[in-house]
């Protein structure tokens, strides 16, 4: 199935009462909430279950039980164009947000269409870009059990991003209306952009094209140590009459270290198992991402409300960084919707 239409396809299958046996998706909590999924102890052998990295296993829990089995992960990282950095006489990647703004200005001043930072807040993946900036200012999606989307810190962060576009003018045109893959990444691959948040598949494309010299590092932070976003995909098993044994056999075979590692390596993603981490840590290309993995945080995917909050963020966050946008109003509305969705 095609990744762009998979949500729709699966929804249709469930509407017609013909769920798949096993599904690979980036969300699981809503399915667990609707009581459609097997828990880990029903379909995974203890050996497989214990091999999952702690953080990723926790990211697949619904009401304390593992329902979304980690299948692969990726971590975002800070990419910068070393040619543009050299031309702007920047010697090291920025560590703080002040450094970041200054460097972005230097690059933009080079002229000739140079862009300091490519900021994609369009609907494709606004929640990912936002998470990273939010965390590096000490903010978060939630405070304890409650949503904290419109916290003072977060309002400040979104204001900062809007300023990048409208006050400092160091981003590409209309960042609130730029997607990641065909927008920000495309510009970086064309050598126009000084800095962008990327991930390993982008590195693969850059290496294949060989046009842009770049390096990968940690995010600039405005509070505490640099944080990045980890994303995990899930494998989930749907409860259907008579499929439990077959599903169990399939999953155990799938999660045998050599099988899963081979698949993850081929796709350029990162491991989710302890055995996989040991096997892949020798790969120099993956080292920057594996180094970031311990400091990677996950979006609140274990909350069933997240599946809707994410879509809400995608459809509204970009409006806040457009000229005349109102970061606080946008975050207030998101907070209000999220709270209503969770009932708390």
């Amino acid at each position: 199935m095609d990744w762009n239409t998979i949500d729709q396809q699966v929804s249709t299958m469930i509407q017609n009462n013909q769920p798949p046996d096993v599904l690979n998706l980036n969300a699981f909590a809503s399915y667990a909430k609707d009581n459609l999924l097997y828990a880990a102890e029903d379909v995974l052998s203890p050996k497989t279950k214990d091999d999952f990295l702690e953080a990723f296993a926790r990211g697949g829990e619904y009401r304390g039980k593992l329902h979304g089995f980690p299948i692969l992960s990726s971590a975002r990282a800070f990419f910068y164009n070393t040619d543009l950095f050299a031309r702007a006489r920047i010697t090291a990647p920025p560590k703080t947000w002040d450094d970041f703004v200054r460097d972005a200005q230097k690059i933009t001043k080079l002229g000739g269409g140079a862009i300091g930072y490519a900021l994609p807040l369009g609907p494709e993946e606004a929640q990912a870009e936002w998470s990273i900036w939010m965390w590096n200012n000490g903010g978060d999606w939630k405070s304890g059990d409650r949503w904290a989307i419109n916290s003072d810190k977060n309002v400040q962060t979104l204001g900062f991003l809007a300023d990048l576009a409208n006050k400092h003018k160091v981003t590409q045109v209309n960042p609130g209306k730029t997607n990641r893959t065909d927008g920000a990444f495309q510009l970086f691959k064309d050598g126009k952009v000084g800095m962008v948040i990327g991930f390993s598949p982008l590195a693969k494309q850059l290496d294949a094209e060989g046009k842009v010299k770049y390096a990968v590092g940690a995010m600039p932070a405005n509070a505490g140590a640099a944080v990045t976003l980890g994303v995990e995909d899930y494998l989930m098993a749907f409860k259907k009459k008579g499929n439990q044994e077959a599903v169990k056999k399939f999953l155990d075979l799938y999660y045998q270290p050599e099988n899963i590692t081979r698949w993850i390596t081929a796709e350029g993603f990162l491991p989710v198992t302890k055995s996989g981490l040991t096997q892949m840590s020798s790969d120099a290309k993956l080292k920057p991402y594996l180094d970031l993995l311990p400091n990677a945080r996950l979006a609140p995917t274990t909350d069933p409300a997240w599946d809707k909050v994410k879509l809400d963020v995608q459809q509204s966050l970009g409006l806040a960084v457009q000229p005349g946008g109102n970061p606080k109003a946008v975050l207030d509305k998101l907070q209000q919707n999220a709270t209503a969705e969770s009932g708390r």
Binding site: Q8, P123, N174, T178, G183, Q186, K308, N337
Partner: protein, 278 residues
């Protein structure tokens, strides 16, 4: 049987879905009567989206008809290479809508697009324009593509209409001493009316239901500011915080009724019976 399976069954399913509640995963959670319709009316985005739809359908169908009339007239003339031009006109029709739309995304692009490069080189504009990101230009850019892909079909319908007009009536007009324009207004257009009505009705339905163009050219814009009722329906079901199949189905039913109503109103205004009996 066939009509039952192909038309009736989906229609019944759609109406039933619009009267039901589904969880975000697609799980059926019971009947809710007309509640989805009431909720639909409460959506803030519905007004602007309906207005967008009106602009989109009106502009695309109107412009398409006017340009197609001129094109058909031109293709009706005898000139060397006519066959080639006629074939060339079919190309945008034969290409998939998604492909055409993707192509236009690149043509319109702020940084890499051909359109901006051409306009800047010709000194029409001072700097590039973000056609698909600027709220003032998105709809116009989409309408441009909508017209582009509607032209071939419409032109051919009108061309067929033109060729069915017998030569004698033109002769008669000439004998009466009518000028070129006068002949066009008094003879060609009235006789072309059946073809025009068919082209207008089919385009109305086609453009209203057009999903790929609006979806592809508008996919970078957050919110529902440039959606039509069709893309809005899809977003309600799968791409917005609503994630509500029932609500989307309700809009689907409304869309079908709207199309039907629009076509009936149109046919009534042009008095189609007369135009066919003429």
């Amino acid at each position: 049987m066939l009509i039952g399976a192909v038309v009736l069954f989906p229609a019944v399913e759609l109406v039933r879905a619009s009267l039901s509640r589904y969880s975000i995963t697609g799980l059926y959670q019971g009947a809710v009567g007309g509640r989805n319709y009431a909720r639909l009316l409460q959506q803030d985005a519905l007004g602007p989206v309906a207005l967008n739809t009106l602009t989109w359908v009106g502009a695309v169908v109107g412009l398409t008809l006017v340009i197609s009339l001129a094109l058909a007239q031109f293709l009706d003339l005898e000139f060397p290479g006519r066959r080639l031009v006629r074939w060339a006109l079919i190309v945008p029709w034969a290409a998939s809508l998604i492909m055409t739309s993707k192509l236009f995304v690149w043509i319109y692009d702020y940084y890499f697009g051909l359109l901006n490069r051409a306009l800047v080189a010709l000194h029409v504009v001072r700097g590039p324009i973000d056609w698909l990101g600027d709220d003032r230009t998105v709809m116009g850019a989409m309408i441009g593509v909508g017209v582009f892909v509607s032209l071939p079909f419409t032109t051919y319908v009108l061309l067929a209409g033109l060729q069915s007009i017998p030569g004698e009536v033109y002769e008669a007009a000439r004998v009466d001493g009518a000028s070129g324009w006068r002949t066009y207004w008094a003879v060609t257009l009235p006789l072309l009316r059946p073809a025009l009505v068919v082209a207008a009705v089919l385009n109305l339905i086609y453009v209203f239901n057009s999903f790929p163009i609006v979806w592809t050219l508008n996919d970078r814009n957050p919110g529902f500011g440039h959606d039509t009722l069709i893309t809005y329906m899809y977003k309600i079901a799968f791409k917005s915080a609503l994630r509500d199949v029932g609500l989307a189905a309700a809009l689907g039913v409304v869309n079908v009724l709207l199309t039907l109503a629009a076509v009936l109103v149109y046919l009534n205004t042009v008095r189609w019976r007369e135009s066919f009996e003429a």
